[in-house]
Subunit: 427 residues, 2 copies
C-alpha cells in the first residue's frame, strides 16, 4: 500500500527522525482552535465513568454451583477515570466530571482520586447513587466465567445539569474527552458546551455504546474506536447499516496484512472523516494503531489552547521532542483536499502482558497528556502506544507510576517504526 504519496510521507517521517533541529512547530489546522489563547492555563476536562472493577480469580478449577477458593482484587477503573489517572501520571492534571455514591466503592474511588492529588470538585457524590461497579469472576484459565456491570448511575446521575456547572472549565480547557457511558443528553450537553472552541475526543467504550456518537458526530474532533466500534459508529452516523463487522483473520485462518486490513476498514473510517471528525485513531490491540485524517495536516499541527505543561509534562515534551524530531515545516507539501485520506500505521511494542484491560484507556491517556504538553499528534500517538505498553505490563488499569525515560525511549521506537499505509484521494 505504498503509493508515491505514501512514500513521500514516510520519507518525511524518516527525515525528521534523522534531523536534529528546532523545536515543535505548531500550526493552526482547520477545525481545531484557530487562536492560541495565552491568557490562562486550564486543565483538560474528562467527563465519564468512575467505576470500581472487582476481579475474582479462583486458585483451583471451580465446582459448579459452589464457591471456589481464590483471590479477589479491587481495581479502580472506568474508561474516563483511567484516562484521567493516566494523564495525571504523565504530568497533566485533568479536571474530572463524574458521579459516584456514598458507598464502599464510591469511597474507594474518591480516596484514590484524592491520593493521586486530583481535584474532586467535579465529582458528584450523591445520596441514592449506586457507584458504578463491574464484578468479574474469572475461571482458572483467566477467561471471564461470569460478570455483571452495574453502571447505570453514570447515565442516570451524570446529567447535563451537573455538567453545565462546569461550563467555564470546559470552555477554557485545551481539550475535552467524553466517554460513551454518558447518556445521549449528557453527551450533547458536553459537546455543545465545548462547541465554542474546545476540541472533543470521543471514547467509544463498547460496541453498543459507541453508537451514541450519532447524536454528537458534528462536534467530535478526535475519536479512538477499535475496529468493531469503528464499524458500529460508521453505521450509526449513516442512514443505514452499510458496514459489516470485519475479521482480521480469514476463514482459512490466515491473518491479513496491515495494509489489506486497512483497506477493509477504509470506507468506515472515511464516513467518520466525512462527517467532520478531524482525526480517527483506530486501535488494533497488539497490531498498534491507524492514525487517519483528511490530508494529514493534523498529524503535526494539533494546536490546543491554554496549555501550560507541568514540570513533568515539559520533561516529557523535551525528551519526546528530542527523540521524535518534527520538521514538518511545510504542510503545503500535503494534499489537503477534502478527498484526500492520509493514514499512518503505528505498531505496538512487544510487551510482557500481565493484563490487557486498561491498555486502550492508557493509549488515550498518554496521547491526551502529550497533546496537552505541547507535542504534536504523531509524537503524542507514539507516547500513547508507549503508555499502553506500560499498562499491559501491570495488573492495574493504570500503572502506579511511569518511567519517563522508558516512555520516551519506547515512544521513539514506535515513532521510528510508523509508516504511511495510505495517502491518496478516496473519491
Amino acid at each position: 500500500m505504498e503509493n508515491s504519496a505514501g512514500r513521500r510521507l514516510n520519507t518525511l517521517i524518516r527525515h525528521l527522525l534523522l534531523q536534529d533541529k528546532g523545536s515543535v512547530q505548531v500550526l493552526h489546522p482547520n477545525g481545531l482552535s484557530g487562536e492560541r489563547l495565552k491568557h490562562a492555563k486550564s486543565d483538560p476536562v474528562i467527563i465519564g465513568g468512575m467505576v470500581l472493577d472487582i476481579h475474582a480469580y479462583p486458585s483451583i478449577p471451580a465446582i459448579p454451583r459452589t464457591t471456589t477458593p481464590g483471590k479477589v482484587h479491587y481495581v479502580v477503573g472506568g474508561v474516563a477515570r483511567n484516562v484521567a489517572e493516566c494523564m495525571s501520571k504523565l504530568g497533566t492534571k485533568p479536571f474530572m466530571i463524574s458521579a459516584i455514591g456514598p458507598d464502599m466503592a464510591g469511597n474507594l474511588l474518591l480516596e484514590h482520586w484524592e491520593s493521586v492529588g486530583l481535584c474532586t470538585e467535579g465529582i458528584l457524590k450523591g445520596q441514592g447513587i449506586e457507584t458504578p461497579v463491574v464484578c468479574n469472576v474469572f475461571d482458572v484459565n483467566g477467561e471471564l466465567a461470569a460478570a455483571v456491570a452495574s453502571v447505570e448511575a453514570i447515565e442516570k446521575f451524570l446529567a447535563k445539569e451537573w455538567i453545565h456547572q462546569f461550563t467555564s472549565n470546559i470552555r477554557s480547557a485545551p481539550i475535552l474527552m467524553v466517554d460513551a457511558n454518558l447518556s445521549l443528553r449528557s453527551l450533547e450537553a458536553s459537546c455543545q458546551t465545548a462547541q465554542s472552541g474546545t476540541p472533543v475526543w470521543f471514547e467509544p467504550v463498547s460496541v453498543a455504546k459507541s453508537k451514541r456518537v450519532a447524536s454528537i458526530i458534528e462536534y467530535v474532533t478526535f475519536t479512538s474506536p477499535n475496529e468493531d466500534e469503528l464499524i458500529a459508529m460508521a453505521n450509526a452516523v449513516s442512514s443505514e447499516d452499510l458496514f459489516s463487522p470485519i475479521q482480521r483473520v480469514d476463514n482459512d485462518g490466515s491473518t491479513q496484512s496491515i495494509e489489506s486490513f486497512f483497506l477493509l476498514l477504509k470506507p468506515a473510517i472515511w464516513v467518520l472523516l466525512e462527517k467532520g471528525v478531524k482525526l480517527v485513531v483506530v486501535t488494533l490491540g497488539s497490531d498498534g494503531v491507524f492514525l487517519c485524517s483528511k490530508g494529514g495536516a493534523e498529524f503535526t499541527t494539533v494546536d490546543l489552547k491554554n496549555t501550560e505543561p507541568s514540570h513533568f509534562g515539559k520533561q516529557l515534551s523535551e525528551m519526546v521532542t528530542l527523540n521524535c524530531r518534527n520538521q514538518f515545516v511545510n504542510t503545503e507539501k500535503f494534499n489537503k483536499s477534502s478527498s484526500h485520506l492520509s493514514v499512518v500505521h503505528f505498531p505496538a511494542l512487544p510487551a510482557s502482558v500481565m493484563r490487557l484491560t486498561g491498555a486502550g484507556d492508557c493509549l488515550v491517556g498518554g496521547t491526551l497528556a502529550s497533546l496537552s504538553a505541547g507535542l504534536n499528534m504523531m509524537q503524542s500517538m507514539a507516547v500513547g502506544i508507549a503508555t499502553a505498553k506500560a499498562a499491559v505490563e501491570t495488573r492495574k488499569n493504570v500503572p502506579s507510576e511511569f518511567c519517563l525515560a522508558t516512555i520516551a525511549d519506547d515512544a521513539r521506537r514506535v515513532y521510528s517504526s510508523a509508516r504511511v499505509v495510505f495517502d491518496q484521494s478516496v473519491v
Copy 2:
C-alpha cells in the same frame, strides 16, 4: 417414631405450653457450668470470620465471556459475624474476635460493626491482611453462576496469639462460639482457653471445614451442623469413614418422613454425643431442626454463668417465657443414662423467602441470644427458628431489626409444634 418415652416427653412439652405458672427453672446439668457466677456480667464471645459478601445479579440472561448489565450488592457476612450481629439485634452484645485488613471491605465491615454499637477491640486490623471476601455472580434465575471465596486471612491472621489476648473475656463469657473458618491451632487455642468452664458452640461452616471438629471434639458443648456436615463431623471424629452422605429424597423421588430421616442420621448424631457433645442441633433447612442430647436433661437446664440480659433481652425472655412456659421442674423423670438418646424435632415456619443465606447463622444467633437472656434450650431453639424465618424474609444476612412481638409469637408457634421423635436407649 413415637415410643412411650417419646410420648412422655411430648406430653410434657404440651403440658408446659398449657400451664401458666412460674418462671424459667434453671438447673445445673452435667458438663455445663456447675456454678452460677453472679459476680460479673460478661459478654458471650464469638470467634471467627467477618466477611464481605459481594452479590452480583444480572438483569438479563448473560452472553458468555462478556459483561451483563445488572446490580451489585455488598452484604456484610461471615458465619461468626452474622451470628454476633444477630445476637446484638436480639439484645445480647457479644464480644467479637476476628481479623480484617485496612482495605475497602475491612473498612465497610468495621464501620458497620461500629454503627450497630458493637465493640471492635477484639477485631485485629492489620497491614497485609486481605479482608475476607466472597464474590458471587448469579445467573438470571438466581442460581450461582460463579463464585470465588478469598477467606484465607481468617486462618492466617486470626492466630492463637491474638486470641490469647482475650483470655479473660473468654473465661468470663457465658458462652463461646467458634466457627470452623479458624485454623486448627486457633480452634484448639480457643477451646483450651474456654476449658475452665465456658461452654463452647462449634459452628461447622461447610462440609470441608466441619471436619476440623476432630481436634477439638472433647471441648465442644453444642454444635449445629446440617445433615451433610453432621456426617462429615461424625467421620472426622471416628477412626475411619463410617458414614455415607444421606439423601432425604429417595431414588424414586419420594421424600422420607422426618422420623425415618432421623433414623438415618441417628448413628452419626450418637457418635458426636458419645464423644462428649452435650447438644447436637441438626439443621434441616425448611424442615426445621433436630435437637438431640443424651437423656434430654440439657433441653431445659442450660445454665450459663455471668449472664445479665439487657433490657431487650429481658423483654425477649419475658415474652418467650410467657409464650413457651417451662415446667420441667423434675428432670428426674428423664432417663439420663449414658445410653439414652432424646431427640425433639422443631419444625421451621412457612416464610416468604427472599434469600436463604444467613438463615442458619440467625438460627444460631437467635438461639445463643436466648440462652444468654436466660431462656432454656427448648425455648431458645424456638426463638432461633423464629429468627431464621425473619432472616430468610430479607435480602441481608441479618435483618436490619427484629420485631420482638413477631419473634415471640413465631417462637410460640414453633415451640407448640415441637415434638419428640426419639427418646430411648440406643445401645
